[in-house]
Symmetry: C2
DNA sequence: TAATATAAAATTGTTAACAATCTAAATAAC
DNA sequence: GTTATTTAGATTGTTAACAATTTTATATTA
């Protein structure tokens, strides 16, 4: 467990955040080699902190670590997408079951704020901001049950989930519409609105269904398009 | 993700395994400061690999990492125990639900072998061996569903679960018996035997109940004894 | 004496150089 | 011409020294 407090960032964290955002934002090709000396040169620091960051990214699954051979940007298969969506959804449902579907007033307010962000980003082309709004939204669901380690576990999946966002977006920009005839932005808004309504009404069952629909749809889109390719 | 293959260990892994086992085996006091230079001197290597190991242990929750101030052996509260047991149990049940309660022949054989180990260790005083047998047993349950990342997630909880083993043992060596009048070893055997039988009979429901009983009992014992202390 | 400020020691964070390993190119053997 | 073998280069793994920070001990002041 890492105790924070003062967020005066050390170099490892700077490298970590930089690399994570670069990967999620799609500025690094899946499979691409991540050479420590290149990165440390780019960020004007030594290899040590960069190595730390790469090891952490390997834990998060954004990077594949091959001992003695270096790191590569993770190649994420449709199967990976399925697993991440399934797990993230399962953890959120588990949290809701524990809390009886009840998210407190602060949580609801935060979710509503995140909802507004998601709406306003629907037309834009800002993956990183989308990912952050999405995380803010779903985090409140997980936090509802007050089980710290469940949240930590869910949090560990977030970077991968973020990377999937990019995959989804790229798939969509080719076809622009999915089976339902909705744009990606619209579906994102719809999907989250259904979850929010369920949580606000306090219906555990409907909330779980909404979460399933949300994550399964994501998985389905990735899977379908993998067939076309 | 870390690709292995050749398990010719590097120094980071040596330090990691050493520290993890020391902590789980109770040779380091909870709260104790872990000073990099001391450890590296002890293991005859430099601070670099030791730092790597400590960072990994922080991810696993066995160590608390205080930036600029160093690491301490994690202080695990009854609440932590509850959360770890709850999560580990939840993930195992999730896996079984996915696999419809079906563990393949190889898995069953492995579980039976682990069961024998657990039995033979019942009288001994070998926490590390107990932990490994327990892990071998439960791992097969998680692996049944073939979701790689679910296993990885569960695996990440294993070191903490191992540490809880020690806590449980220490509590028991004071009172030697729990409410049920069973010795710790006997309960361990009983509890796992019920799980194994359920899995072998293919009954998802009974397997989930057995898992719940197993983990909830662990949590209960830790909680109860925290009241006495 | 107790509380605060200062100085010394210990410890972590970072770097740069060295060692070991892997990769790829050039050479040799068939 | 193709396959091995050797060699040179690139990259990771490890170390030891340095810088920054924190902790402990000492001295100062009220």
């Amino acid at each position: 467990m890492i105790s924070e407090g003062d967020s005066k960032k050390n170099y490892s964290d700077i490298a970590l955040q930089y690399l994570r955002e670069q990967i999620i934002d799609g500025n690094m090709q899946p499979g691409e080699k991540l050479i420590e000396s290149n990165i440390s040169e780019k960020l004007n620091l030594s290899r040590g902190p960069v190595r730390d960051a790469l090891k952490q990214l390997a834990v998060e699954g954004l990077v594949d670590y091959h001992p003695n051979k270096g790191c590569t940007v993770a190649l994420l298969s449709p199967r990976d997408a399925y697993e991440v969506f399934f797990l993230r959804g399962s953890l959120e449902k588990l949290a809701l079951e524990k809390s009886g579907g009840h998210v407190d007033a602060y949580g609801i307010l935060t979710m509503e704020a995140a909802m507004e962000e998601i709406k306003s980003l629907a037309g834009e082309d800002n993956i990183l901001a989308e990912v952050k709004a999405d995380e803010k939204f779903h985090a409140q669901i997980v936090l509802s049950c007050q089980i710290t380690r469940l949240y930590k576990m869910w949090e560990l999946l977030s970077p991968l989930n973020g990377a999937m966002f990019l995959t989804l977006k790229n798939l969509r920009s080719r076809s622009d519409l999915d089976g339902s005839g909705m744009s990606r932005g619209d579906r994102l808004v719809n999907s989250h609105e259904r979850i929010l309504n369920a949580v606000k009404s306090g219906s555990l069952e409907e909330a779980c269904k909404a979460l399933d629909a949300h994550y399964l749809k994501n998985g389905e889109i990735i899977y379908r398009s993998s067939l076309k390719a």
